[in-house]
Amino acid sequence: MTVYHSLQELQDLAEDRGVAVWEIVQQADMDASERTAQQSYDKMLEMYRAMKEADAKYDGSLLSASKKAGGDGEKLHQYNVSGRNLCGDFVGKVMEKAIKMGESNACMRRIVAAPTAGSCGVLPAVLLSYEEDHDAGEEQMVQALYVAAGIGKVIAENASIAGAAGGCQAEIGSASAMAAGALAFLQGADAQAVMHAAALSLKNMLGLVCDPVAGLVEVPCIKRNSYGAVNALVSAQLALAGIQSAIAPDDVIDSMRRIGNQLPCELKETGKGGLATSESAEHYLK
C-alpha cells in the first residue's frame, strides 16, 4: 500500500524506491481508488487534453455574466506578438494562457479545476507553454500533472484548497505550488528540488486573501492566475539552481493552514472585505 501524507513522505518514498515522484503519486492513486495503472494514466491524460482543448477554444469576444470580464487574453496575445514583448516569449505565453483560462472560466466555458475553478489557469498555462516551447512529449506532461496533483493533494489534506477556508493563498497559492513542482520535474529536478520548488512558490503566496468583487470569480481572480503562473516559473528556476526554502516544505504548508485560520471571514470568499468593499467595487456591476 503506497500512502503519503506529507511532501517529505512523498520525497522519501520516491528516493527509497528509486523511482520518480510521479510514480509514487500514481501508485497511491491506484491503491486508494482501485484504478489500474492504465485507468489512472488515462484519466490524467483526459485532464491534460481537456486543459489543452480549453486553451485552444478561448474566445476573446465572450463576456462573463457580469458583462465586465473577457477579452484581456486577446489583448495580451496581441501585445505578445507585437514584437515588443517585455517578458520574453515563454513568460509572455505563460501569462497569456493563464489569463485566457481564467476568462474562459468566468464565461462558463469548460475548464479543469486545478485545484479549483478560480485558479484553473495556473497549471495549464505553465504546462501547455512548456510542451509547446520545449518540445516535450505528452507522456512527460501527464507525468508532470501527477507531480502537481500529488503536491496539491498534500496541501488539500494538511491545509486547504478552498478560498472560503484559507483565502486565495489556498487557491492560487496551491495552484502555483503545484505548477512549480511540475516545472521543476520537467526540467530534471530530483525529488527534493521538486518539493522545494513547491515550497518556495507557496511561501511567496502566503497571506493572500480572497476578496472577490460582488462574490464573482472575476476580480481579482482572473488576473491573479497570471501572477500565480509566473510565480511558479520563478520558484522552479530558484529550485533548479539549487536554492532551497529555508522553511521545510511541509512547514510552509502548515503555515498556510494556520494563516488561513487566522484570516477573518471577511477575507475568505464572503465578498465582505478588501477589494470587494472598495468604492470601485460598488460600481462594478452597474
Partner: protein
Amino acid sequence: MDLFDVVGPIMVGPSSSHTAGAVRMGYVAGCLLGEPVRKAEILLYGSFYATGEGHGTRKAIVAGLLGMKPDDYQIAESLTLADQRGIEITFGVARLEEAHPNTAIIRLWGVGDKSIEVQASSLGGSRINVDKIDGIDTNFTGECPTLIVHNLDQPGHVSEVTSMLAHESVNIATMQLYRSARGQKAVMVVECDQEIPQEALTWLNQVEGILKVTYFAGIS
C-alpha cells in the same frame, strides 16, 4: 481525497462550489426522484441566493435536474432547454437557520406520481452533501454508489438490506439510519464501494415494509 478532485473535475465555470457543485445537487436530486421531472421549485439560501446569479447557480441546478454533468456545455442554456421540455420551474429564497451558506432546497414533482424534497449543500470544490430528504436528516455525498431505502420503522429491514448487499458482494462504506418518529417512516442511507445490480433493487422494492427504494450509481 481523490486525486482527481485535486486535478479535476473537468467542469463548466465559473465556480466549483456555485456552479459544478450546484449541477451535482440538481443531478442527485433528479436521480433521487427516480423519474423525469415535471415541476421543480428551487429555493436558495445564503451565498447561493446572494451571488448565485453571477455564478450561474440557478442554471446549474436546472442543468443537473435535466441529467447534465458538471462538464456539459449546455449548462448555460438549461433554463431554455427545460422550458422546451415543458418543465415548470420556479425559484425562491429558502428560509433556513444555521444551514451551510451554499444550500438549496429542491422540491420535485415527476411525470408519474413521485415527488421529493431534497436539501443539499455545496461544500467547496465540487463536493456536495445531501442534508435532508423529505425533511428527514441525511448525510451523504453522492460520490459512491448510494442506496436510499424508505421503510416502515419495524425490526428486520436493515438486515434485509445488508443481507442483500452481502449476497451481491457489495461492500458497505458507510451506513446511516434515520426516522421521523418511533414506528413511523424511516430512512436508510447506504454508501457502497461497488455498484448494486438492478435485479437486487427490484427485489428489495417488493419486500413488505419497504416503501421506496432509490439508488444512484455515484456522480463521477
